[in-house]
């Protein structure tokens, strides 16, 4: 990889100042970005590691919201969110592998918005709020396509706020080599209604399956999904599965998620 200037600030303010440089780039846990650097797909002049900012690592309740610091690792979320939000903890517990989960962070995952990542499904599937150093973003406005978000250059995800669902489940069909989601579906029965978010399937990244949401709103049971299907158009097709296969899997994984959410709720 190309060399860069490395900075490891202790506060968010310092990090934001260091990121003001045009070619500066934030480094979360690095589990995606370091391999990207090795492939020379990115060449920042300055890398600003967020790993020294203790204030970005927390899991706590504030009122009715579960609030998670942007620098919190998947392993910590798996452990500390288990009692309040078991579906989110289970999602975190199945990202990558144990060593990856000790470095990778929720803020890094949401900032990257990989079309096959797990956390975007949880954020969109619960209508979470993504808090940054300068703004708050509703999940519905935050995800804007493959590897694209509402974040400005240099904007840091400092916190993610989740309303707790009445019942929820994330079901991931694992692509076994990468352990990313070939298709992953997050289903949540929220106080305001049912939400269904799909990752891994679409070329534009995570999306809400609104037809399924409407059907489940009337009757939260897997049977109501039998009549629904998604078109293959716009779905990812690659060596791991065709777009038709992924469209089909969305239905399968959504039904499984409804069954699991019903059992857990």
């Amino acid at each position: 990889m190309y060399d860069f200037e490395f900075a490891r600030p202790a506060t968010v303010d310092e990090a934001v100042a260091l990121l003001a440089d045009e070619d500066a780039q934030a480094l979360g846990g690095g589990q995606t970005f370091i391999p990207t650097l090795k492939q020379r797909l990115a060449a920042p002049s300055r890398l600003v590691s967020l790993s020294g900012i203790a204030a970005l690592r927390f899991v706590r309740m504030e009122g009715d919201l579960l609030c998670i610091g942007g620098g919190t690792t998947h392993a910590t979320v798996a452990r500390e969110a288990a009692a309040r939000f078991p579906a989110l903890a289970a999602l975190a517990a199945h990202i990558g592998d144990p060593a990856v989960r000790n470095r990778g962070s929720i803020g890094g995952s949401l900032a990257n918005n990989d079309p096959s990542a797990c956390y975007p499904a949880a954020a969109l599937g619960t209508g979470a709020t993504i808090v940054t150093d300068r703004n708050t973003h509703a999940a519905d406005d935050y995800f804007q396509g493959m590897f694209t978000t509402a974040l400005e250059p240099g904007e840091i995800v400092t916190e993610v706020r989740f309303a707790l669902p009445e019942a929820a489940s994330y079901q991931k069909f694992v692509q076994p080599a990468s352990r990313f989601a070939l298709v992953g579906v997050f289903v949540a029965r929220m106080a305001e209604g049912v939400r269904v978010a799909v990752t891994g399937a679409a070329e534009d990244g995570v999306f809400r399956w609104t037809e399924a949401e409407a059907a489940l709103e009337d009757d939260f049971a897997p049977g109501v999904l039998e009549a629904l299907s998604l078109p293959a158009e716009g779905m990812i097709g690659d060596m791991h599965g065709s777009s038709e296969y992924r469209a089909h899997l969305v239905g399968v994984m959504t039904r499984r998620a409804v069954v699991a959410a019903t059992a857990s709720g």
């Binding site: 990889m1 190309y2 060399d3 860069f4 200037e5 490395f6 490891r8 690095g30 589990q31 370091i34 391999p35 650097l37 090795k38 890398l47 590691s49 790993s51 020294g52 392993a75 990558g96 592998d97 144990p98 060593a99 990856v100 000790n102 470095r103 080599a177 352990r179």
Partner: protein, 162 residues
């Protein structure tokens, strides 16, 4: 170049590194701790697994400067100073948990991380935990056996001691 200092296997160490210097390269090239292996260099295989702050991480997916001030433990820190193998290492030997041995340092460090958080894992839990450690020789069976035996010994199970 930037100065980096950390504690490796209980010893204070420091060196001059570039921003891009990976932790694994600092350990191997500057400290001479070549027990930690680079298998794939794409954070898939786990041969480079070491402990940072007490938990397993892939040292090829972390910069040396990110370990500033951290406590790092490598495979060289597992045996006693007189060379007596740790329980996990001995179990790998006794249960033939290695063939070529390339993945073994990572396997041992990963297993140690598992037994810290789950002293009594099921066979399934061991296999799931090892998702990030690839072995191309053994078929994993004896590795799993070794870890289960080490777990039993560390718990002080009578059956394992017999």
């Amino acid at each position: 170049m930037t100065r980096v200092a950390m504690m490796v296997n209980g010893r204070e160490v420091s060196g001059e590194v570039e921003g891009r210097t990976l932790l694994v390269d600092f350990l191997r090239q500057q400290l001479g701790l070549t027990g930690t292996h680079v298998g794939c260099d794409t954070s898939q295989c786990g041969a480079c697994t070491v402990h940072v702050g007490g938990v397993p991480v892939k040292s090829c997916a972390m910069f040396a400067l990110e370990a500033e001030g951290a406590e790092v433990r490598t495979i060289e820190g597992m045996a006693a100073p007189d060379g007596t193998l740790s329980v996990i290492q001995r179990a790998f030997q006794e249960h033939h948990g290695l063939q070529c041995g390339y993945c073994t340092p990572g396997m041992v460090m990963s297993a140690a991380g598992l037994l810290q958080v789950n002293p009594d894992p099921s066979e399934h839990e061991v296999r799931v935990w090892l998702e990030g450690n690839i072995c191309r020789c053994t078929g994993y069976h004896n590795i799993v056996r070794a870890i289960l035996a080490a777990a039993a010994e560390l718990r002080g199970d009578a059956a394992a001691a017999a």
